[in-house]
């Protein structure tokens, strides 16, 4: 069935290295996305119509644009247009952060609009500035509501990192294809064993993360 391929040489280690590459990109991108998402999300709730339209346009644009095109534009486009030679990993982190920030901003907007106006007013009437109000009163409250959802974003991001093979990053799926190909003659049906392992690897990484998000959701639900 093709499982024997995995124990040849350091194939198993290479698979884990590939998974690590995918995880590293996802985690860095999510952290950036949470930070920028908070800012963009807050901007989205401002009365100023211009800011709102721009951030809304950004969200729709990123949601609609296929990620592969973004990868090509950031990785190849920037070299052609501006002469900057970006590494594949930096480009993929930029693209996934752009995507993550858009998704996060939408979550933040939803969370901010669900905070009753009285929280803002009682904070202002104590003399806190609007910046202090956001930092000490509003954001800590939406973080509780948002963190579980942003953890879900990590699993979605991990699953879509397989796209980065288009710009030369060897992640877990690419390693799988390499192993299948390398053993084309010696074990022709290696594909099933390898894909079953990849299925399992993605599961044991993403499932605990979604369990964590459900646990946090329950704990902070009050």
């Amino acid at each position: 069935m093709g499982f024997e391929v995995l124990f040849k040489g350091n194939n198993l280690i290479r698979l884990f290295e590939g998974l690590l590459a995918a995880l590293r990109i996802s985690f860095i991108s999510v952290i950036i996305s949470i930070f920028c998402g908070l800012i963009v999300g807050t901007l989205m709730t401002q009365e100023n119509r211009v800011i709102r339209v721009i951030t809304r346009g950004y969200l729709e644009f990123i949601r609609i644009m296929p990620q592969m095109v973004l990868l090509f534009i950031v990785y190849f486009g920037t070299t052609k247009a501006l002469g900057i030679n970006m590494s594949a990993e930096t480009s993929s982190i930029i693209v996934f952060s752009l995507w993550g920030t858009a998704e996060m901003a939408d979550l933040v907007r939803g969370a901010l609009t669900s905070i009753p106006a009285i929280q803002y007013e009682s904070s202002y009437s104590l003399g806190l500035t609007s910046a202090q109000t956001y930092v000490y009163v509003i954001i800590p409250q939406i973080i509780r509501r948002m963190l579980p959802l942003s953890i879900n974003l990590i699993t979605r991001m991990i699953k879509t990192t397989s796209l980065v093979m288009m710009i030369g990053i060897v992640e877990v799926l690419k390693v799988g294809q390499q192993i299948i190909e390398a053993n084309r003659k010696s074990s022709p049906n290696a594909a099933f064993g390898v894909f079953a392992t990849i299925f399992f690897l993605y599961f044991i990484v993403c499932w605990p993360i979604s369990l964590l998000s459900k646990y946090l959701e329950k704990k902070w639900e009050n």
């Binding site: 009682s122 904070s123 202002y124 003399g127 409250q141």
Partner: protein, 246 residues
């Protein structure tokens, strides 16, 4: 007594709807002013104009020689001196009672932590909630939360305290707990402007009564004049709506 807050020809409009139509009022230091009136007469909005939560279309609110202007940057400085407690007794849900009390003094006044904590504990003890200092708001009753909200406002040592129908959303037996606190503050000589429906409480605590109707001050006077010999016919009708006879 020296004037602490002066309201001159205050007008407030939502597009065409006139909510406050030229209010003039002067509040002395240590005075307790109670505002009553039918719902929708603009009394709560008036209170929110005093600390800049609502912008005003005309007229001025002067406190300590400074004009309160909602669009100016220094608004939060003004609000340090004018405390307000709302009808919905929402505390900051993610902070304990003590943290709720300490947030503003530490962040706004940059006060010393130990000193503020001592003050906070004293205030909590005064309203019998010292044991609740490390509880979260969700573990408190409405009445308890409202009392903490009042103490939280007091932590800023405001010159004036605005109370906007703070008992409207409470069960009867909790109303008592909260109003006793307000009465004790009045005895201490706190300057307060109170909007309420609790007539007997108003009569007990007020130095001066004001009757709002359709965005104007209709009648003003000491509690005795106000309740015993109401002059205007509208005030008489309003007071009757509170008494029941079989």
């Amino acid at each position: 007594m020296e004037e602490i807050l002066s309201v001159q020809n205050l007008c407030k409009k939502y597009d065409e709807l006139v909510v406050l139509d030229g209010i003039d009022l002067s509040i002395k230091k240590g005075e307790v002013v109670v505002i009553v009136g039918p719902s929708g007469c603009g009394k709560s909005t008036f209170l929110r104009c005093l600390n800049g939560l609502e912008d005003i279309q005309d007229g001025k609110v002067i406190h300590d020689g400074e004009v309160i202007n909602p669009c100016s940057g220094k608004l939060n400085k003004v609000r340090e001196k004018i405390g307000m407690v709302f009808q919905s007794y929402e505390l900051f849900p993610h902070k304990t009672v003590l943290q709720n009390m300490l947030l503003a003094p530490l962040k706004v006044k940059k006060a010393d932590k130990k000193q503020s904590e001592k003050e906070a504990l004293e205030l909590l003890d005064r309203v019998g909630l010292l044991s609740k200092k490390n509880n979260y708001p969700r573990q408190l009753s409405g009445g308890q939360k409202q009392r903490v909200a009042i103490m939280r406002a007091l932590m800023m040592q405001p010159d004036i305290l605005l109370l906007d129908e703070i008992t409207a959303a409470l069960d009867p037996e909790m109303v008592r707990e909260v109003l006793d606190v307000v009465i004790s503050l009045a005895k201490e000589g706190r300057t307060m402007v109170i909007v309420t429906h609790e007539m007997s409480f108003a009569r007990a605590v007020a130095d001066r009564m004001i009757f709002f109707d359709e965005g104007r001050i209709v009648e003003e006077g000491s509690p005795e004049e106000f309740f015993v010999h109401p002059k205007t016919e509208r005030l008489q009708k309003f007071l009757q709506s509170f008494s029941y006879a079989r």
